[in-house]
Symmetry: C2
Subunit: 362 residues, 2 copies
């Protein structure tokens, strides 16, 4: 087992990465106060696979489970309210612990429930998708979606620990594995060119679930993310770089009403768009763009926006991005592989022409 | 104008207390970033009285208003969602400011909207009731109610400033003035016996809206509250003392479905019950209890639980209190006037007998 600490003062916490961690009672016990209630929140896809193992590990605790339907569209106020009701109906007090067992959706919604129930209770992340293990479970961003925008309601709220059992990836559909790779590639692009180089040689073993390659990629991703979160927990500055590809990607997800595409797939197309627009602005070279697109393609990720989506859809939906300031859409763009910046000073007409071109091509 | 600072490091903020503050553009401008959007959240009762003055003061800002219905039962997930929708429909970004213009309900719900919209935006409190000016606007507790319990969903989230215009109290119904007094008396009881003595001589001028007495009472209350919040922002310890009377009081409010009684009225009866039970436990004298009851009565506050409420109702509803630990209801009780403690070690049967007696008497 590898342990990585996210040093956030009195909110510091460990990330455990390794095989067969789900069933280790000791890991949970370190972070759950004695004699308190525990609610595992999971979904209908993950429960049949891993709930029994986690419940067994929590045998000594007063433990309940809530299963939500699977899917981004259930990251809603309604699902959140189901969690609150279950906690209240069963007299969960402020010492209770919520455990998120699942992917990013379960982690985000359970995290926000933990942040807001009785103004904050204990929270443990047990991510079971690659995307959640490398990104959403780390750093304390919790949220639900609103019909008018993704992740628009939420809190910065750190977990007590993250338990990443890499064996859970064995049951992950290939599309979800690729979606996780989109976020892994992002770290290489925004701040770690060495990692990008490494990924060019390791996408294939990762897709084949090679245990060492997976653990290396997860640990390096978490290290990158933790460094950024430590530097800027509440996204006043550098943390915004983690949004590479997300401004375009969130627009795609909202356009599709959080259906059909996975978050990582939207981010992959968004990353490609941000890279292409960076090249159009003359900030990265054609060769760099080529390397980026090749890597994204080798990860089996989609390469264009969904059919029917227009330039105006992008502009309208991106106007609601959380990075918007004074009606100005700020984009994370690349200055080179391994270096991203939040940009205000791009040519808006150029962006519109680029969006028209890429959305016209299908 | 009196200015009182709540020293919370990077979350420090001023409380402005005085007459005609609502209309002072400069007070708002100090705390609203240039060129950003502002949403005033208020209710149908307060809007006709004070919205015009506030809107005029905010003339130079890009400002909108949302009016909610008046009443505790609208401190709900539905109202919260109305705020989110308005913000999103109008492309409010993360630099925006929410202003709560009204009493505790408006302050609590607007504060939680500000805490959770895009994971946190600027927030200004403009309390227009005595209760909000002396209690709920100070200290960063924000919340909404759930059908199964009061203030069960929320966040600790500090405002950028509190603007308490004492002239707004001139239009306050007498019942609401008394309700505010319940929280004022609480500060005397839990930690400031000198203030309690002073109140014994000043309830009458306060009820007659004597300007000096009001300002003195508000400032002293805010000072007491700020001291506690500075010592324990997230209610890990001493802050729980502010809940004197609230465990019983919240049970009453939940029993009445947040209708009919004002929060302060429920707290007044709760305070009386906590005092009587403290006397039964032998922790305060009969004379002290007499002084407390006399003061509460002179403030024109109700003196018994609502008709129909039984001991079992109290026990069932108090079991959901946020101070509950391991199924044990913790009560704030008095050791003397000016000194309260959170107690685990009371006799549960004695409590039940007391509740049976007081609920049988009507």
């Amino acid at each position: 087992m590898r342990t990585l600490n996210v040093e956030l003062g009195d909110r510091a916490y460990p990330i455990y990465i390794g095989e067969q961690l789900l069933e280790q009672t000791e890991l949970y016990r370190r972070h759950i106060p004695q004699g308190t209630k525990v609610l595992i929140v999971t979904n209908e896809t993950v429960a049949p696979l891993y709930l029994a193992a986690v419940a067994k590990a929590l045998n000594g605790f007063d433990c309940m489970t809530l299963q939500l339907p699977d899917g981004e569209k259930y990251k809603s106020l309604d699902s959140l309210n189901r969690i609150y009701s279950m906690l209240l109906e069963n007299n969960f007090d402020r010492q209770c612990t919520l455990i998120a067992l699942g992917g990013g959706v379960i982690g985000d919604i359970t995290g926000f429930a933990a942040a807001s129930y009785q103004r904050g209770v204990n929270f443990i992340q047990v991510p079971t998708t690659l995307l959640a293990q490398v990104d959403s479970s780390v750093g304390g961003k919790t949220a639900i979606n609103h019909p008018l925008g993704k992740n628009m309601i939420g809190a910065f709220y750190q977990p007590k620990c993250v338990i990443s059992d890499t064996l859970t990836l064995n049951t992950l559909p290939p599309r979800e594995l690729s979606a996780g790779l989109a976020e892994i590639i992002k770290y290489g692009l925004i701040r770690d060119s060495e990692f990008f180089d490494w990924l060019e040689n390791h996408v294939s073993p990762i897709l084949q679930l090679d245990s060492n390659s997976l653990s290396d990629a997860i640990e390096r991703s978490c290290r990158n993310k933790a460094d950024i979160v430590i530097a800027d927990e509440r996204e006043q500055g550098v943390r915004a770089l983690l949004n590479l590809g997300h401004t375009f990607g969130h627009a795609i997800e909202t356009f599709l009403a959080y259906e059909k595409w996975l978050h990582g797939e939207a981010v992959a197309v968004g990353t490609r768009m941000a890279s292409e627009f960076s090249e159009i602005c003359g900030w990265i070279s054609r060769e760099e763009l080529q390397r980026i697109n090749t890597l994204l393609t080798s990860a089996a990720l989609p390469d264009k926006p969904p059919p029917g989506m227009q330039a105006d859809d992008f502009m309208r939906l991106m106007a609601k991005d959380k990075k918007v300031q004074n009606d100005q859409i700020r984009l994370v763009l690349l200055k080179k592989i391994g270096h991203a910046e939040v940009c205000n000073d791009y040519d808006r007409d150029l962006l519109y022409r680029y969006l028209s071109r890429i959305t016209a091509s299908h």
